[in-house]
Amino acid sequence: MPVIHIDGQEYEVEAGQNILQACLSLGLDLPYFCWHPAMGSIGACRQCAVVQYLNPEDNRGRIVMGCMTPVMDGAIFSLNGDKASEFRRTIVESLMLNHPHDCPVCAEGGECHLQDMTVMVGHRDRQYRGKKNTHRNQYLGPLIHHEMNRCITCYRCTRFYNDYAGGTDLAAMAAHDHTYFGRHEEGVLQSEFAGNLVEVCPTGVFTDKSLMKGYTRKWDLQSAPSVCTGCAVGCNTLPGERYGKLKRVHNRFNAEVNGYFLCDRGRFGAAFVNSEKSLEYPGLRGEDGRFNALDHHSALMHMVHACHAEEGKNKVAGIGSPRASVEANYLLRLLVGAENFAPGFSDREQPLIELALALQQDSPALIPDIQTIESADAILILGEDLTNTAPRIALALRQSVRNKAYELAAELRLEAWQDAAIRNLAQDQRSPLFIASVADSRLDDIAEDRVALAPDDIARLGFAVAKLIGGENISELEPELQARAQAIATALQNAQRPLIISGTGCGNAAVMQAAAQIAQALCQAHNRAMLALAVPEANSLGQAMLTGPGAQSLAQLSKRAAAGKLDTLIILENDLYRRGPKASIDALLANVANVIVLDTLDNATLSASSLALPAASFAESEGTLVSMEGRAQRYYPVFVPRQERRASWIWLLAVMKESEREEVSELHSFDDITRACASDIPALSGITGAAPDAHFRNAGLKIPRQTHRYSGRTAMRADVSVHEPKQPVDEESPLAFSMEGLNRSQPGSLLPFVWAPGWNSNQSLHKFQSEVGGHLKGGTAGARLLLPATGTSASTATQPDATLAPSAPQQPGQWQMVPRYKIFGSDELSVHSPAIAELVDPGFIEISSDDARALGVNDGEGLVLNKPDNASQGELLTIAVATLEVRLNDSIAVGCAGYSVGLAGTEDIIAADKLVLSKADNWKRHKPQIIGSDGGGSTGGDHV
């Protein structure tokens, strides 16, 4: 390792770093703005200046930029010399010429990197007497607030938005001291990752609009380590709370998962916790059909009574949820018995998720985390619209395709942090990415080739690639697809780290099998292949691990209910109306006398229950979730639930305790349940490693949820009572609802916020990292439950009858329904966040313009989707399934029609159904929604 001299001290540093990285890694404070650990150096802001000396005799030295200067053995630098300090001080002074003195009203104040750096360099007095420049701000949508006057032109926003995240609608305008970062016209920022601007911007140009509506400073937020529940990726988050409301979500660094960035569903969707639909009291349906509020004990006794299985009477069944914690699901399964427990998937997705788990368990390929995905140098996506189903992975793939650029850079001996040089060198040269999907995707711009195919054809293409890699013949395949398969197979075989991504997204088992077969074929050909399979929800994979294959399905339960064999049905955090057609769910619920629902927000299933119990959300409870890569991760309560809300595991444990059930006699705490689950369920045996148990102490102290300057605790409830209540005690975790304790060097799973002396902003993170940009000092959060299978014999992947020959042509006049996902709207909970709700469209159906012409409809008109009724004899009868607005999309695969998953009006459509389409009469086009923020006022009337 090179040795460098800084201000007379010798330091060993990592080779290949620049001086800024080296200084920060050594714990030295060197101010910077434009450099970002995930985005490298461009040397734009001139803030990280140091003096470099040629040799020990050189006593003048020269100013160099730390972020642009590589470390070299024997190099001599001065950080604190007068010349360097003075230079850095004047840089801040020049940046402050136009920066408003509006810190007290700025949402960044208190966690502002510019504030920190200004204090660090010692700039205090303004000498310049001229006027400050002012700009007009833009409306950038419901998520982000724009305040251009505060800009210091570090270019981090466009570098993240365009270069890193592939956005196209944010640019640097004009030049000199009137440079402007914005859109070419006002409007919603189009990138799914725009929210990261809030954290990337070193000052208050881009701030969180939702936070501003009920503002709280960072130091007044109570926060705890959490895990995003928006999809199955399992990004680590830091939700912040004040006055019982979730105020905002920031990124929680995890080197192996989300790194520094989140998607907007994760960042802004968690506000569903504050929804008016959230339940606060248990409700018992009275004879008049209305719910009467209960206290929690009476509710518990009602539930105990309903669950009490009398001799000769029928049974109790439970439906779990892929969005509830492993622990809550485990307890429900214990309560009702494994044979009476359904995991809560829809009938269509259950076999798919079981298959996704089996394929990953059996695959000899590596199941990659996101950091490993970013190392892939050839990628094939089969059937998954990642930007909308696993967004953070789509962002990672934008970095994977840059591996070609890094290869080119290595040839020229350019360091990887030389961002501008490497982008300039590579231009459009990228590592190959191939996409076979039902229609266009947001990754098409970086794809070497993309093809739109019906799901079965995607599978055939995949099988053909596997066969080619295995040296087999693919002559049955259509010639056009043969060429594609050949190109894909060659690219994957030539790669060092090929990656195959698929998932449950297109609703087709063969597609996932094809992906697994390719990965297996590559492994057999001694390629270090990776296989990633996306699943829909935060704990889908954990749920499949809990039940194992062949669990009760909703259809099986419905059958038992219809036969009168179920008295009580306990539904855990699951809106069944999102899991099947309304008629069949109606029938299931009607056939059971006691329907007990535990959930956070009011929904259709809850409204159909006889007893409703308020379940604490992820932000008010603890639990373990298993992400799509099989990583078990723990989330902790950020705040104490209001009123009679309880974590689902507490409700379920209490019911079993009251029923004096033997199995729980030894279970007293959350950790007990986790341990019991780990010892009962072999697939989940690793979950205890997700985080330390409640006995963990950091240097003998608990870890504080509140910063050391958390203020107003005596005053915040003074409108009710001047007596300050005792702080709640958290017996279930090593975290405390307190300012006391030690937030330093603890395991990554227990990091509640980042702060270090002199570093109030999120840039203080590097003080928690072993080296800047590297792993957290206390270790990376989460425990991997899926390890590569050692044998290559496996095989769920082998599908002996995988045929490459085209299937029989579809019946004319019918369209195959293919799911189209939306980052905003397709999942259940985030749409209850007011900011996200503004971005959700009504349901739609996508067809090609040729099909539209044939059907006589135009964009914006209505289409009736009809299911052919096979029972009818003779003339063709149909049943209308839905009526949706037409959207023209010429990229959609031939014979397919895309329906918007999860959006209003599409509940009864099932993927792969073949439906007849006909023009809807009397259809009224959805009026353009008038969004709240357009009403003026929210951006202060300073629009262009």
Binding site: T168, A171, M173, A174, Y180, R183, H184, E185, Q427
Partner: protein, 165 residues
């Protein structure tokens, strides 16, 4: 008016396509395309910007970043002739501020404004490369050197009646 025609004219497209044939990537012709459209229409409207961006396969934001970077690409309508009055160091020492005052009095327009008859727009310019002849300015395509209040008087004397310069 030309700015009411949203798309590009055939002549403009032909000229842009000619430039495109010289560059390896379409975005490389962005500046030329902006100049071509500005030559035809006098300025670059939002409609023109969107149409050019589409034609070059760029995002409108990216193209606007280029358009707004250059002082001589006009993103607002300008008069028939643009007066570029140099306010760089030499011209400033030689009294360009007073000359600007004279122009303002004569034409009734301040910096960035256009005369009501749409003849002139007055804009500042940082150096025209003729410091030895300071103060200087350009009117349309003509460079005027060593300007004085008198020469301005002569130049714009019949501006009000639409006289030639």
């Amino acid at each position: 008016m030309s700015e009411l025609i949203p798309a590009l004219s055939e002549a403009e497209i032909a000229a842009i396509d000619a430039e495109l044939s010289h560059v390896p990537v379409p975005a490389g012709a962005a500046i030329d395309a902006l100049k071509i459209v500005q030559a035809h229409r006098g300025w670059i409207s939002d409609e023109s910007l969107n149409a050019i961006a589409k034609h070059l396969g760029m995002s409108a934001a990216e193209l606007d970043g280029i358009a707004t970077f250059y002082t001589l690409i006009f993103r607002r309508p300008v008069g028939e002739k643009v007066i570029l009055l140099c306010n760089s160091v030499t011209c400033w020492m030689k009294g360009c501020d007073a000359l600007q005052q004279t122009i303002t009095e004569q034409l009734g327009i301040g910096m960035g404004e256009t005369t009501t008859d749409n003849k002139y727009t007055l804009l500042p310019m940082t150096c025209l490369g003729a410091c030895d002849k300071a103060p200087v300015m350009m009117v349309g395509d003509d460079l005027h050197e060593e300007i004085t209040a008198q020469s301005l008087q002569a130049l714009f004397s019949n501006a009000g009646s639409g006289g030639e310069t």
